[in-house]
């Protein structure tokens, strides 16, 4: 394997790993902030003791996750220069600005106020302390915005011109208001709400099932987390739907690859399963619902959708000879896994919601199921990961759509040995840390009880 494919693999592994923690940070920071507001506003003495413990309980889980997110994020910032120096040269005038703004406006906020929050319990007034976690939540979500501004440019360049062989910014405003960012940011934001909320659901269910002393309090958090996650899932679905419709104009190649639609059709069917033959550029077999794809895109049962083969011909005319078709099979199935997982999550959260709100008195009957719920925890993480696969693999062979190819962006001084060493190194340390962090979190969850004793 050469340095290019190894670097791509390394970037994929490190970003997906980083994005296991990011959505939890985005969502759980808000959830913990809401919990603390509840604590600050609560009047009863006994309740306050328990609520404070609860805030610290979920705060601790948040902090373990936050630390993992921060340290793996540094790797990403360094990565653009380390492995993708020609990308950094080509894109620096545009990409550097949101990255620097992310550090200036978001990272400083997060990191400063998280320190105040962790160590400030006895030094700050209750309201000020609560404000700290809100600022952390704001900073985290703002940082997601900036990095997605940068990513949106790679998906759909706006506000630039090409000058002296590199992309040059003509308008920061255009960059920030890139229509692509709307779908991408809302989708990521609600995915964060969903992931953070679902984590709280799982932890609460586990505590309800295994910790009798704390049961009462975790039924409260379960209820709140169900509502929280529900909002998240609906938001993910809505933003995902709108974004896919938008892709029809913004990046038709990605869209048609997701649907494995090889030939231009009107109205276009929606394939539920397909045996994709990327070499022959066709599906050997498929089960499809007629007209459905057109309907999903245009809210009408007619409407042409361009096929991959026509888009490939157009791309050749525009950009010269080459293969402009991404990994259709991977995109097709990733999309189905993502949507399927989302639907499954909605069903699960609905059922748990019914139990938590309407069958509260007979909750003991469900404890054996609650005990098994940690097995469901991977679901949102799977959806997030395949979601990013769709976003990033869907723009190949481009690193910046229509402007620079991934193959042109690699650092020329790297040997495959260099990248092998770091690929193995990062993967090993990431696996090792995942084991330790999960171990620490599980230990903490199991030995902490929420009682009235101070």
């Amino acid at each position: 394997m050469d340095a290019l494919i190894l670097s791509r693999l390394q970037f994929a592994i490190t970003t997906v790993y980083h994005f296991l923690f990011v959505p939890v940070t985005l969502g759980l920071s808000i959830f913990v902030a809401l919990l603390e507001m509840w604590y600050v506003q609560s009047g009863s003495y006994e309740e306050r003791i328990k609520l404070k413990k609860l805030v610290k309980f979920f705060g601790t889980i948040f902090l373990i996750n936050f630390a993992m997110g921060v340290v793996t994020g540094i790797v990403q910032e360094f990565h653009f220069g380390m492995n993708w120096s020609e990308y950094a040269r080509f894109m620096g005038d545009i990409f550097g600005a949101p990255l620097a703004l992310e550090a200036l406006t978001a990272f400083f906020l997060e990191s400063t106020f998280i320190g105040l929050w962790i160590f400030g319990w006895d030094k700050l007034s209750e309201k000020l302390h609560c404000l700290c976690i809100w600022i952390v939540a704001f900073g985290s979500n703002l940082s997601a915005f900036w990095i997605l501004v940068a990513n949106s440019f790679m998906q759909h360049p706006v506000g630039y011109e090409i000058e002296g062989g590199r992309a040059v910014m003509t308008s920061l405003f255009d960059l920030i208001t890139n229509p692509y960012i709307f779908g991408e940011y809302t989708h990521a934001f609600f995915a964060g709400i969903t992931t953070g909320g679902f984590l709280v659901i799982i932890v609460s269910a586990w505590k309800i099932a295994t910790d009798e002393i704390s049961r009462e309090m975790f039924i409260h958090t379960l209820r709140r987390a169900v509502l929280f996650t529900f909002v998240g899932i609906i938001g993910v679905m809505g933003s995902g739907h709108l974004h896919t419709q938008y892709l029809a104009s913004a990046n038709p190649m990605k869209l048609s690859s997701i649907e494995a639609l090889w030939e231009t059709t009107d109205p276009a069917p929606f394939a539920i399963v397909a045996d994709i033959n990327q070499e022959q550029r066709r599906n050997d077999f498929e089960i499809a619902v007629p007209k459905l794809f057109s309907f999903m895109l245009y809210n009408s049962f007619s409407g042409e959708v361009k096929g991959i083969n026509e888009l490939q011909r157009e791309a050749m005319e525009k950009y010269g000879a080459g293969n402009y078709i991404p990994d259709v099979k991977g995109l097709f199935w990733s999309f189905r896994i993502m949507v399927g997982t989302g639907g499954l999550l909605l069903g699960i959260v609905f059922v748990i919601g019914v139990i938590a709100f309407f069958l509260r008195d007979s909750i003991k009957k469900f404890l054996c199921y609650f005990k098994l719920m940690p097995l469901l925890l991977p679901l949102p993480f799977i959806a997030n990961s395949v979601g990013w696969y769709i976003a990033e693999a869907g723009r190949q062979p481009w690193i910046v759509v229509s402007l620079q190819k991934t193959a042109q962006s690699i650092s020329p001084n790297l040997t495959s040995w260099d990248v092998w060493a770091t690929l193995i190194g990062f993967t090993a340390i990431y696996l090792f840390l995942a084991v330790l962090a999960v171990f620490a979190a599980v230990q903490f969850i199991n030995r902490t009880t929420i009682s009235e004793e101070e």
């Binding site: 902090l63 220069g81 105040l116 001084n413």
Partner: protein, 330 residues
């Protein structure tokens, strides 16, 4: 003064902030060597609330380099590929260690993470010294701004010497910081003893470093650079005597000044280059051939002028909140 010069200054300011603030964090990590577990806990608590925000200075320096001088960012990060990988491993272990160390009540668990903090403080301190020394010394950078050497070309005796100098200076700086933040009398006494040794070692390392600079770089062609280094050595020797006399505040302020002057000196010696090519002077990266467009530089200048002071305000507020000395725990 054009925007390129302003950004050169801003990058220097960010690196100065980084070396001052993470300097004492790294120093505290290094000083954990040979301490008992309960003592190490106190040392960690002294930087617990602030280390994360201090580290963001480095991240901002990196991001700002990317925005203002993309070729500098691209060449530097790809040149130092394996060195930065090592640094990342160190920073990852250190960052996670602060969070996970206290999560289990188990002495082996804590020892392991303490080791991670020591490793994670020592390695970046050393490597930043190596990196700064190499930027100024010159590396085989070709006409396309690409690195034409290998990993071991980065580790010349001269560069390693600079790394050791950084480690000693940061350790001394960390000791001075701790002497302001701890309450445990026995620890303070021990720190004062260590400061004696660290102060003189850092000073000697500085002397050797400056001599090496004279022989290995073109620093002599910039008289101001040499003056700044000489003055910094004077301040450092003052710091050493403050530390011995137990004037803790003065000792900390003077190491802060030493680090600031040293960083400024390095950037003055670099100016107007960002990364020197040892193959041909014309191939060096400068604040003009490595820069973004005036438009981007202008936008980023406005952003920096607005946000940097705000950051400084709330960060210094944090230090005020946590000014109370860390009590020893039974």
């Amino acid at each position: 003064m054009d925007l390129n010069i302003i950004w050169f200054i801003l990058i220097a300011v960010l690196f100065t902030g980084f070396f001052i603030l993470e300097g004492f964090d790294y120093g505290v990590g290094i000083l954990m060597i040979g301490k008992s577990q309960s003592e190490r806990t106190q040392l960690i608590r002294a930087i617990g609330p602030v280390w994360d925000a201090n580290e963001v200075w480095m991240i901002t320096a990196g991001g700002a380099s990317f925005a203002a001088f993309p070729h500098f960012y691209a060449s530097m990060f790809s040149t130092f590929y394996l060195a930065l990988f090592l640094m990342l491993l160190a920073l990852i272990m250190r960052g996670v260690a602060f969070e996970l160390r206290g999560k289990l009540d188990n002495s082996d668990w804590r020892n392991f993470w303490d080791g991670a903090i020591i490793f994670g403080s020592l390695v970046p301190a050393l490597l930043w010294g190596v990196a700064m020394a190499n930027l100024l010394h010159g590396l085989p950078i070709d006409s396309q701004m690409h690195y034409a050497g290998n990993f071991f070309d980065l580790l010349s005796p001269y560069a390693l010497l600079a790394g050791i100098f950084f480690v000693l200076l940061f350790a001394f700086h960390g000791a001075n910081f701790l002497s302001l933040r701890l309450a445990d009398g026995r620890l303070l006494l021990d720190l004062q003893k260590k400061s004696r040794f660290l102060g003189i070692s850092a000073w000697l390392a500085y002397l050797i470093f400056v001599v090496a600079l004279v022989f290995e770089t073109d620093v002599m062609s910039k008289f101001t650079g040499v003056i700044i280094f000489a003055a910094a050595m004077g301040v450092l020797s003052a710091s050493w005597s403050f530390a011995r006399e137990g004037k803790q505040k003065a000792a900390f302020i003077t190491t802060t000044l030493t680090i600031a002057m040293t960083t400024v000196g390095l950037f003055v010696a670099l100016y107007p280059r960002l990364m020197v090519s040892s193959l041909l002077p014309e191939w060096s990266l400068t604040i003009y051939n490595a820069a973004s467009t005036p438009k981007t530089l202008f936008i980023m200048t406005i952003a920096a002028v607005i946000f940097l002071p705000v950051v400084l305000i709330y960060q210094s507020w944090t230090y005020k909140i946590f000014k109370e000395r860390v009590q020893s725990i039974k």
